[in-house]
Symmetry: C2
Subunit: 354 residues, 2 copies
C-alpha cells in the first residue's frame, strides 16, 4: 500500500470511513423522517458510492446531466432522476436510449420542454416519468407558482408518452420552510383537481438535518453530504471532522515568513467561494488563510504562525469550499484510510457536462 506522504501533489484524498459514516447518518435520518433518499452523484461521480448508498437504503440516484446518467447506467445503476431540463434533438435521443435500458425520470418547467419530451416519447413502449420543477425560492429553474405547476402537469398527463411523476424542487439554502409551504400549497391544489402526485422530491445538503421539516415532500436528494466541505461547515451541516474530501498539496515556496505558496490553485480547489472568505481550510494549520488562488498556486497567509507554519516541501491537506467541482477537476481520487491509500480510482463521471 502507498502511504499518503508518498503521493505526488496536488491530489484528492477521500477518507473512506468518513464517507461511509456520512452516508449512514443521512440514511438513518431520512428513515426516521419517513423520507426516501435519492442521493445526487454529482459530488463523488463514482459508481461505487452510488451503489453503496443504494445498499444502505437509497431508492436510486440523482444525476444532473445525461452524461452522468450514461456513466451510472453503464455501471449498473438502474433507477435515476435527471434533475435537468432536456432540450433539443441530440439530448432527447440520448434520453430515449437511456430510457430503453434503465428507469430514468426527468423534470420540466415549461411547455416547450414538455413538448420536446412528448414528441420524443410518443411511441415509447413505456411512458417517461416527468416531474414538474418548482421554483420555491432558489430563483433558478422552475415554474413560478402552484397554479403554473398544475397547468404544466396537465400538459404532461395529456401527452401519450409521458407520466406525471410528481413535483421536484431544489430549495435555496436555508429556505426549507418556504419550500415546504410552497409544496404544501401545490399539493392541496393538485388534490382539489384530483391529480395524484406519486412523489414530491426536494433536496440540498445545507438543510439536510431539517429534512424532517420538509412537509409534504416524500423524497430527499442530498449530494455534498457524502464528502461535506467548508461551505457545509459554515452552513452548520457538518464539522471539519466530518469532511471526507481533502486536497493534498505541497508547500513549494515561502517567500516571506507570513506567506506560503502551495501547488494547489484554482485547477485543484476551484474558485468557488459560496459566500465564504478564503478558499479552503488547512487541516494541519487551522489558522492559515488561503487568501488567493492562481491556476496552479495557492497563496496562504500564515502570519498567525510566528515561525512561518508549514515549511517548503511539507504536505498539507486543504478542505475546499465546495467539494463537488473539485472532483470534476481530477482524473482520479485516492481512497484512503488512516495514512494509507486503499485504492486509486478514476472519477468515472468527471467532465460529463452535457
Amino acid at each position: 500500500m502507498t502511504a499518503i506522504c508518498e503521493l505526488d501533489t496536488p491530489c484528492v484524498l477521500v477518507d473512506l470511513d468518513r464517507a461511509e459514516s456520512n452516508l449512514q447518518r443521512a440514511q438513518a435520518f431520512a428513515d426516521k423522517a419517513g423520507l426516501k433518499l435519492r442521493p445526487h452523484i454529482k459530488t463523488h461521480k463514482l459508481p461505487r458510492f452510488a451503489q453503496r448508498a443504494i445498499e444502505l437504503g437509497a431508492v436510486g440516484i440523482t444525476v444532473q446531466k445525461l452524461g452522468e446518467a450514461e456513466v451510472m447506467a453503464n455501471a449498473g445503476i438502474s433507477d435515476m432522476l435527471l434533475t435537468f431540463n432536456i432540450i433539443g434533438a441530440a439530448k432527447l435521443k440520448r434520453l430515449r436510449a437511456l430510457h430503453d435500458r434503465v428507469t430514468i425520470r426527468v423534470v420540466a418547467d415549461s411547455h416547450e420542454c414538455v413538448a420536446g419530451l412528448a414528441a420524443a416519447f410518443a411511441d415509447a413502449s413505456k411512458p417517461l416519468g416527468v416531474f414538474v420543477e418548482c421554483d420555491t425560492g432558489m430563483g433558478r429553474c422552475g415554474v413560478q407558482s402552484p397554479e403554473a405547476a398544475l397547468d404544466l402537469a396537465r400538459a404532461i398527463i395529456a401527452a401519450p408518452g409521458l407520466d406525471l411523476a410528481g413535483l421536484m424542487t431544489y430549495p435555496a439554502a436555508g429556505k426549507y420552510r418556504e419550500a415546504a409551504e410552497w409544496l404544501a400549497a401545490a399539493k392541496a391544489m393538485f388534490e382539489a383537481a384530483g391529480i395524484a402526485l406519486p412523489t414530491i422530491t426536494t433536496g440540498g445538503t445545507p438543510d439536510i438535518w431539517h429534512a424532517d421539516e420538509a412537509g409534504v415532500a416524500t423524497e430527499y436528494r442530498p449530494g455534498t453530504y457524502i464528502y461535506m466541505d467548508r461551505s457545509q461547515v459554515a452552513a452548520g451541516a457538518a464539522s471539519f471532522d466530518d469532511c471526507a474530501l481533502t486536497v493534498l498539496a505541497t508547500v513549494v515556496s515561502h517567500p516571506t515568513t507570513g506567506r506560503a505558496i502551495v501547488d494547489a490553485g484554482s485547477k485543484a480547489l476551484t474558485s468557488d467561494l459560496l459566500g465564504l472568505v478564503g478558499h479552503g481550510y488547512v487541516v494541519e494549520y487551522p489558522d492559515a488563510k488561503v487568501v488567493g488562488l492562481s491556476e496552479e498556486h495557492g497563496t496562504l497567509d500564515v502570519s498567525a504562525y510566528p515561525d512561518g507554519g508549514p515549511k517548503i516541501g511539507e504536505q498539507i491537506r486543504i478542505i475546499p469550499n465546495h467539494c463537488c467541482p473539485v472532483t470534476n477537476l481530477f482524473d482520479q481520487v485516492h481512497l484512503v484510510r488512516g495514512g494509507e491509500v486503499v485504492e486509486t480510482v478514476p472519477v468515472a463521471a468527471r467532465g460529463r457536462v452535457d
Copy 2:
C-alpha cells in the same frame, strides 16, 4: 463538416482565424520590441497551437506543471520553460527524465528548491538551466529583493549540475513599470558582481501591448493572448471581436421574462471572477448579464430585453471571464471557422495539475 448549430452543448468553440490573428499580432509586436516570445500553453493546452506559435517565431513555450511539459514533449516540442518550483523526489525524477529528452529550464526562489535541483542533477550529463524567480509586485512566489536574487544565483552557479539561466518574473497586472524597475536594479547588481544573465523573462497578457516598456527584459511569456477573454477586454488588452474562445450553451429554461437559464454553469465557465461582476459576455445578447452560476446552470438576467431575449432551445455563445481554466474543464474543443466545425480535438494537456 458539422455546423455549429448541430453541436451538443455546452461545448467550447475556438475560432481559428481569431486565434491565428492573435498569435501573429503578438509575435509582430514582440519582434518590433526586440523581445523573444515564449508563449504559455496553459491557455490552450494544445500541441498544435504551441507548434504554430513556434512556426511564427516563438523561441519555445512556457508550461506551468510537469504534466504539461510531458504532454508537450511527447508532441515534439523541444524547448520549454517550466515556471514553477519543482519540489520533492517524485517531481525531481520526472524533471530529470524530461531533461534527458528536451531542453527544459526551471525556476527557483529558495535555497531549499535549489538544493533539491542540485542533488537531482549533480550527475547529469548536461546542466539544468535555472532562473531565479523574482517577486516584482505580484505577491506570489519569488525572491523579495535584487539582493536575494543575487544570493540565490550564487547558489545556482555553485551547484555542479545547474546553470544560471537568468531572472524570471510574473508581474502583477498593470504593474509592468514596477517590474521593469525591479529587474533593472537587479541587472545592475548582477553586472556589478560580474555575473551574466543570459535571459530576463517577464510575461502576462494584460500588459502585453506594453511589452516594449519591459526595460531590461529579453523575453515575454503571454498565455491568454491566443484566445483572449472578458478579463482581457476589461484590462484593455483586447476587444470582444478578438476573443477566439466561446462556450456554446443552450437556453433550457425561461422561468420569468427577465430570467433565462442556460446549460453552462461553473463546470463550463468556471467561477473565476478576476475582479469582474458577472460570469461572462453573451455574444448574441450583449445586454444580458450572467448573474449566477451553479455547477450546471447559468442564470442570465435578460431584463434588458422586453421580449425576454433568447428563447428556450436557442443556442448562445458566452465569452468567459477567464478562458484558461475553461479549457481545463473540457475533454475536447471544437476548432471552428465561420459557422462550421473544422476539427474537434482532445485538450491534450487538460487536467495536468501535477
